[in-house]
């Protein structure tokens, strides 16, 4: 299985699982019991799972979430989504080449009666907001059913190996995402009135007020009095030449493979998008021992937190701002990426192309709220609430808090009636507002700095809703500038060198300067989490300032391992002149991010990128229709089939809307696609209502 499995991880524990054998295209392969076919294939270095029936293009993992069908394989004769189907010992898996054949043999089938379950509240989604809402409802003893499509609760928290932003009190800042997931899940499990269905997918809120749910493969109808949509968001995609090659996918898929399945799906990754999702994905990749060749962001500045961006830049990942992807290059699978500088109108500037060898491109260009369950419930006349990303795209810290508010509100509506004012404290709403704040101003370093012999330096210069450093300090020596959650931290008081602020900071943006022994050559303590690139005493490391400027090479003086915090503290001795500047050190070799000697510019026709990957519809086909004045997405779909594929327009809808906007059509003239059941494709076999024969 070579290099494709993560055997060691600085944060996640790697447990040995039972090995089983299966067959792929007549080749015997090893898998771990319980893992999905897709993960097993990637672990064996297989990236192409089949070829599209329309144009023969290579197909592989894309959403890793059962939403599309690009990972389809034939398992024991039946076409299945490999990201959602568990591999079994002795399973015969074949690549899906063109349209699959339907087996002739069917065998007997037994049908049970479809069960109907009544509940006061149905929560769709067990991520940070759904779990937080469930806890509130549980505390009030309200009969609640929480449904989540994954095996473990926590939503995307489960995939987050980094420490969280926010405040300790409201959103467990400084704790790692997957640890928060566990804490919240335990609290939910402890609520007697809350029932949890994991591995259960909601298909639709039907007009007869019943909600179709596949629970562990069995179809059930839930009849709720109220629904909370906490189903999260979906990732946006991008138009660029070659966007249909295999090995291009979103951060969700990437994090699922890497952090859930401990698979290394790539050796050389390039990331498009400098929001928090893209930046964190870069960090996760480094932790998983993946080379991150670079990250391109179309805006002049990354949209994500500056501390995240600074951190990965220091570690050796170049960030190309005002750059966009021009093309993914390769024969069926990604072999390289070409990026280009863009002007203020995001138009490519000729002659600025750079190409990098990479095997995978990760697209992290933002999220869209998952609104369908809300709309369906409204149409059906079921009282509906929303929280988390399904309500508004924000950080998980915000999702947890507004989930709590939603839970409280639902309980209040049930217990006291909709018209009652309720007893949600005003400050909750203020806090909710604060937690979802976008980054604010960028400030300078604290000047003058009151530090004398021993003091922390905060390389955290952008206002973000985060303050665990201030609450963790035992001498109360750290405050935010203006006392609010958003303010940048400043030091003032008595540092005792306890390292707590270094260990809790999610941005790894605190260093400790210690001049006590040698004021000319103080020691600097730097937090470090990239265990896949180990650092040991005596190693020479290139120190970096906050903007990833090199400060010179220095030997490592000492490394202290805080195993329970899964963080190392790397200590160096530097001249006093640069002591305050040292923010980190390069971990990834400079050679990793070298561009190719010559950019790869493939001659291309305008708009030959794909806009609907499922049905293979090009941008040109759709733009031609828009130019004819067609702005009804239903009509575009009827003519081109864009949106008619397995993902149900989840990927192309936004792309087509963007294209229409680009053609100068006002948003109000766009007629939305009619959304119909069902949320994800589901086998006909699960639906029959038993009792016939």
């Amino acid at each position: 299985m070579g290099n494709h499995r993560i055997k060691q991880h600085p944060i996640l524990s790697v447990t040995r699982k039972k090995e089983i054998m299966f067959e792929f295209n007549s080749q015997t392969m090893l898998a771990y019991e319980g893992e999905m076919i897709a993960s097993a294939l990637i672990a064996n270095g297989i990236y192409v799972f089949g070829h599209h029936h329309k144009d023969g293009s290579a197909q592989g993992i894309f959403c890793a979430n059962g939403q599309c069908a690009k990972c389809t394989v034939i398992a024991n004769g039946v076409p299945v989504k490999s990201c959602m189907t568990e591999v079994k010992a002795g399973m015969i898996v074949k690549s899906a080449e063109g349209l699959p054949e339907v087996p002739l043999e069917t065998g007997p089938s037994k049908r049970a009666k479809i069960e109907e379950i009544h509940t006061e509240v149905l929560i769709i989604g067990g991520g940070p907001s759904g779990l937080s809402a469930a806890i509130e409802l549980g505390k009030k003893g309200i009969d609640t059913l929480l449904v989540d499509d994954k095996h473990i609760m926590g939503g995307k928290l489960v995939l987050q190996t980094h420490k969280f932003f926010g405040s300790e009190q409201d959103s467990r800042a400084g704790t790692r995402g997957h640890d928060i997931a566990e804490l919240l899940s335990l609290e939910v499990r402890a609520q007697e009135s809350v029932q949890v269905w994991t591995n259960s997918t909601v298909l639709f809120v039907f007009s007869d007020k019943k909600v179709g749910v596949i629970k562990e493969g069995v179809y059930k109808l839930v009849v709720p009095k109220r629904i909370l949509n906490a189903a999260g968001a979906r990732e946006k995609f991008l138009r660029f030449r070659g966007n249909n090659l295999a090995r291009i996918y979103g951060a969700g898929a990437f994090q699922t493979l890497v952090n859930r399945d401990l698979i290394r799906p790539t050796n050389r990754l390039f990331i498009i998008g400098g929001g928090n999702v893209g930046l964190i994905a870069a960090y996760h990749a480094l932790q998983a021992g993946i080379e991150v060749v670079g990250l391109a962001e179309a805006m002049p500045q990354c949209g994500g937190y500056k501390v995240h961006a600074d951190k990965i830049k220091r570690l050796g990942v170049p960030i190309y701002t005002s750059h966009s992807i021009k093309s993914a290059n390769g024969d069926k699978v990604v072999e390289s990426v070409t990026i280009t500088e863009v002007d203020s109108k995001f138009q490519a500037i000729e002659g600025t192309e750079k190409s990098f060898a990479c095997d995978t491109i990760l697209v992290a260009v933002g999220l869209d709220s998952l609104s369908e369950f809300t709309l369906e419930a409204q149409a059906a006349g079921i009282p509906i609430y929303a929280s988390g990303d399904a309500l508004e795209i924000a950080e998980a810290s915000s999702a947890m808090f507004n989930g709590k508010i939603a839970g409280h509100k639902i309980a209040n509506d049930i217990l006291h009636g909709e018209s009652s004012e309720g007893n949600i404290p005003d400050e909750w709403f203020a806090k909710a507002q604060l937690l979802k704040s976008h980054p604010g101003q960028i400030k300078g370093y604290q000047d003058p700095h009151p530090g004398k012999d021993l003091f922390p330096v905060f390389h955290c210069l952008q206002e973000i809703p985060c303050n665990p450093c201030t609450t963790v300090c035992p001498t109360n020596s750290i405050h935010t500038e203006d006392g609010t959650l958003m303010g940048v931290p400043i030091y003032g008081g008595q540092c005792v060198g306890c390292f707590r602020c270094l260990l809790i900071c999610p941005g790894l943006a605190v260093t400790l300067v210690d001049k006590r022994k040698d004021s000319e050559n103080p020691t600097i303590t730097i937090p470090y989490e990239i265990g896949s690139i180990p650092v040991a005493k005596g190693d020479t490391i290139q120190l970096m300032d906050i903007d990833a400027n090199e400060l010179g090479e220095y030997p490592v003086f000492r490394v202290v391992d805080f195993k329970d915090r899964r963080t190392q503290l790397v200590i160096v001795k530097v001249p006093a002149a640069i002591a305050m500047k040292v923010a980190g050190f390069r971990a990834q070799a400079k050679s990793v991010s070298q561009p190719l000697d010559k950019p790869i510019i493939t001659p291309s026709l305008p708009d030959d990128a794909m806009i609907c990957l499922c049905e293979r519809v090009s941008v040109k086909e759709v733009r031609d229709l828009i130019k004819q004045g067609i702005t009804d997405l239903n009509q575009i779909k009827a003519i081109t089939r864009a949106g008619m594929g397995p993902c149900g327009a989840k990927t192309c809808d936004t792309l087509i809307r963007n294209l229409i906007r680009e053609e100068g059509v006002p948003a109000e003239e766009v007629v939305a696609n009619t959304r119909r059941p069902i949320f994800v494709e589901a086998a006909l076999d699960i639906f029959p209502d038993g009792d016939s024969k």
């Binding site: 029936h53 069908a69 039946v78 076409p79 063109g98 349209l99 699959p100 054949e101 339907v102 087996p103 002739l104 069917t106 089938s109 049908r111 479809i114 639709f204 039907f206 007009s207 007869d208 019943k210 179709g212 179809y219 109808l221 149409a379 059906a380 067609i630 702005t631 009804d632 239903n634 009509q635 779909k637 009827a638 003519i639 397995p646 149900g648 007629v671 119909r676 059941p677 069902i678 494709e681 589901a682 086998a683 006909l684 076999d685 639906f687 029959p688 209502d689 016939s692 024969k693």
Partner: protein, 384 residues
Amino acid sequence: MKKIYDVIVIGAGSIGLPSALFLAEAGQKVLVIDTEHAPGQQSNKKAIGGVRATHSDFGKIQLCQRSIELFKSWKEERGDDIGWLSNGYSYPAWEQKDKDFLLDLMKVQHSFGLNIRWVDGKEYEELVPGINTDGLLGSTYSPEDGSCSPLLFSSSVYFHALKAGVEFRFGETVTELTLQNDRIISCKTNKDQYTANIYVSAAGSYAREIGALVHSKIQVFPDNHEAGITEPVARFFGPMIVDMRSRPGSSNFYFYQNHEGQVVFCYTPEPAILGVENLSTSQFLTHCSKRLLEVYPRLKYLKVRRTWRGQYPMTPDGFPIIGYKDECSNLLHVVGMCGQGFMMGPATGEWVSRICTSTLSEKDHQILKSFDPYRDFSGVEAFK
């Protein structure tokens, strides 16, 4: 300013679109008005695409035979692929009474020259490999019937109509048809006002409402049907399969594999659900899948992709209404297609054109008798 046309067609659906095209190609200046924002957005796009001439009535048979000719030659004649497949229709029988009924009907169908025959269970299994043959008595098989994509066909007709000079007003609803004596002198919408010599009601489920604007009672009552579509797979069976048995909850159901390889399926709820209600219910999937898998167990391997709900604009006897009513001499009703508007559309469009240009043949008159608005509506279409 009033805009003057030869013909105004109300409704850009299965009937309105081909009518407009053929009228324009016959030299008429045509305007089409539709409430929706694009062509074919109501019942048309909800049609599953089956096309057959094997009906029980002379008029409908003639109409659909002509439609099939048009569909079949469309790509060659007009250059657009509409996904036509001559995959045939089949009505399998599991009960003797159904077999007897179908065989009786076949005599009538043969007398009209239709290509339909009875196949035994074994031959039927070759057409539909893996079909449940338990108690199967055989099936009808009419290989010249077929299917095509309502979406592709309507888009193609729309673009040809534009080319032929048809004007379209989308997002407009007809609110008033101003009568002077027995003639409409102007047509008002929520946005504008238009005038034409002849008005055509191709309003589908809203035929009754359009008729009421000129005080004509049009007996069209839509009822709801639900349909679904699977992922595409390699072609594995031939004809449309219509299971005409009635079961608690549904009077019949049918399915076929379309040109993309997707299986499209549909049922008729029983008792009928009247009105226009496009939201899906939870019953459809659980009920229809049960019937589907019982008849054709191999379908269990397919994934459902999408389901939807649409209407059959029904008339009391199951036949369309095509013609003028006394209250208004220039409103031509072409309505009440009873769920077969798509398959009857192309030929009906030609008829509409001939009616409006007064070029009907003797045979046309004879055919149109079946659809006379003043028939007594007491008959029942034997083979819906």
